[in-house]
Symmetry: C2
Amino acid sequence: MSKPAFHALKPGATIGILGGGQLGRMLAQAAGQLGLHCHIFAPETDSCAFEVVRRATIADYADRAALDAFAQDCDVITYEFENVPAETAAFLAARKPVLPDPQVLALTQDRLVEKDFVSRLKIPTAPYAAVGSAGELAAAVKKIGLPAVLKTRRLGYDGKGQAMIRKGDDPLKAWRSLGEAPCILEGFVTFACEVSVVAARSRDGKVASFDVAENVHRDHILKTTAVPARISAAEASKARKIAEKIAKAFNYVGVLAVEMFVVKNGRERHVLVNEIAPRVHNSGHWTLDGCTVSQFEQHIRAVAGWTLARPMRLGRVEMTNLIGKEANDYAKWLAIPGACVHLYGKGDPRPGRKMGHVTRVFTK
Amino acid sequence: MSKPAFHALKPGATIGILGGGQLGRMLAQAAGQLGLHCHIFAPETDSCAFEVVRRATIADYADRAALDAFAQDCDVITYEFENVPAETAAFLAARKPVLPDPQVLALTQDRLVEKDFVSRLKIPTAPYAAVGSAGELAAAVKKIGLPAVLKTRRLGYDGKGQAMIRKGDDPLKAWRSLGEAPCILEGFVTFACEVSVVAARSRDGKVASFDVAENVHRDHILKTTAVPARISAAEASKARKIAEKIAKAFNYVGVLAVEMFVVKNGRERHVLVNEIAPRVHNSGHWTLDGCTVSQFEQHIRAVAGWTLARPMRLGRVEMTNLIGKEANDYAKWLAIPGACVHLYGKGDPRPGRKMGHVTRVFTK
């Protein structure tokens, strides 16, 4: 089947969103602000995105009848997570424009393919090697050295699907702990700081990136983001150029995030790409309150075929995730002057679950 | 029936909103940000607020079965417009807490009662007199002088229900044009500027007002708001104190707006109250992008029994309403750097219909 034609949406048109978590929820809220409607498709009956839209489909991503009806109701379809099954994306893309293009999913769902893609763009990454067998694992350890991190090629997030291998550890044991799934071994990087850039690309090829954010993780989950990152202007410029280059190389439409490490090598500092997320990203939540346009609005503008906004930061910004039971302290946050509290409307504050976030903007 | 008990809501609770226009819509969006659910009750099938919530009731305000089911689904009920029928408010208030208290509706639905209330607080207004008969009309004209404005006591908005009486005009003709409805005659005021203050009061009696906004009307409809208003610090302080005093006198819970005139009398300038709106208000839309808390969030916090936020303005702010076909220019606005575009998702851009607004924040 040929691809369905794409026309810029008009207010009142409907954007379909695959995925019903907080990212889909905040995308729908941004679309609402622009007079666009959203239809959320998600399998989980308690998806928090359902609460902020009129139309929702609760069905499995393999349910073709449900997907077909969903596609008929939508003018363009996007997604809030990178692990959309390839068959789902292809089925929908034959019926309605799916943006970003599903080919990007194929590139980013596999850490090895993604790293190879980035390397071909001559963008530096940590040293890495493919691990598909015990022999390859031994060769990879020899090539990369230890400590190193073994990561499954697919379906890892928030530290899941990863195992650290230190000197003296048995690499095979680490691989077994990951079910001997296809992996990559990455050199362990001691970084000066972790940063990320959220960038958007429009249908007509314009690119706009947000200011570089500095991230702190706790237990492999993003805990805080501060903007601007405490890096040099040259490093910030380099980080933004990397994200914009990747967006262009992907022929991307929408918002993506590139996580990077700033590493110190003797007296020099380098920016290495760690990971690409083909979607709005937790490290961009600060834009909701700290910028004249949010990452969510920027993504909606892009997939609607509208012009991108030029992001203008309103001050120094700090974002703090409320994880698990931390969200029970919402009243404390509500009382802090200038704190903008976002709660995602999720029921159970399970450990590690992102329940909300708080942004503070300092204009002076 | 005694009043139902009120407890501060927890995230996940449901706020009922009477009215499905853009104010209800933006209230629901603010509630969503705080992890609260909304149920919209409105008679119009195409109410734009329906698009941003999961639960909606389409029914007449006199439909007791629908009101009863609505009340059962909600933890607290509020409204987006001041002309909620008294019977509707009373019916709901017997079942669930209704905030602001419906007694405020009785005070603000009638211009004469409202003006008398304000006067008793020793807050200045334009001179006014009640008109219920031809005799009272003649006496009022004699007392107030001409030019003057005849206004129906009830159901006026955006210049509807008003007639100007100039010198030489026949006052009876003006009254007949308003169907000889009960009216008040107000002295015509030549103002230096029109300002408004949006203020919030919490369940525990704390009051927080936003910075004074300066408004420009066109064809009796708000066209632009600029913040801060170009008035002296003393005048701004006086305007805020007036709004806060009214909120306290009402025992108000939620957000209200007080429209005022700054009038020049020889070398002195005075602040006169024109009108009170017991709800979020168009002249407070700038807070969505220009302040650390919006009027919508502040209202939701108040009716949820939560602490108010301390509003911190992010810079100089300009808000422009998109009225009728002006909304068709949305693409022009999207392209302006720093412009935050809000479209309400209404279908038909009828003349005079508020279709959206644009805010610009200038941080320098």
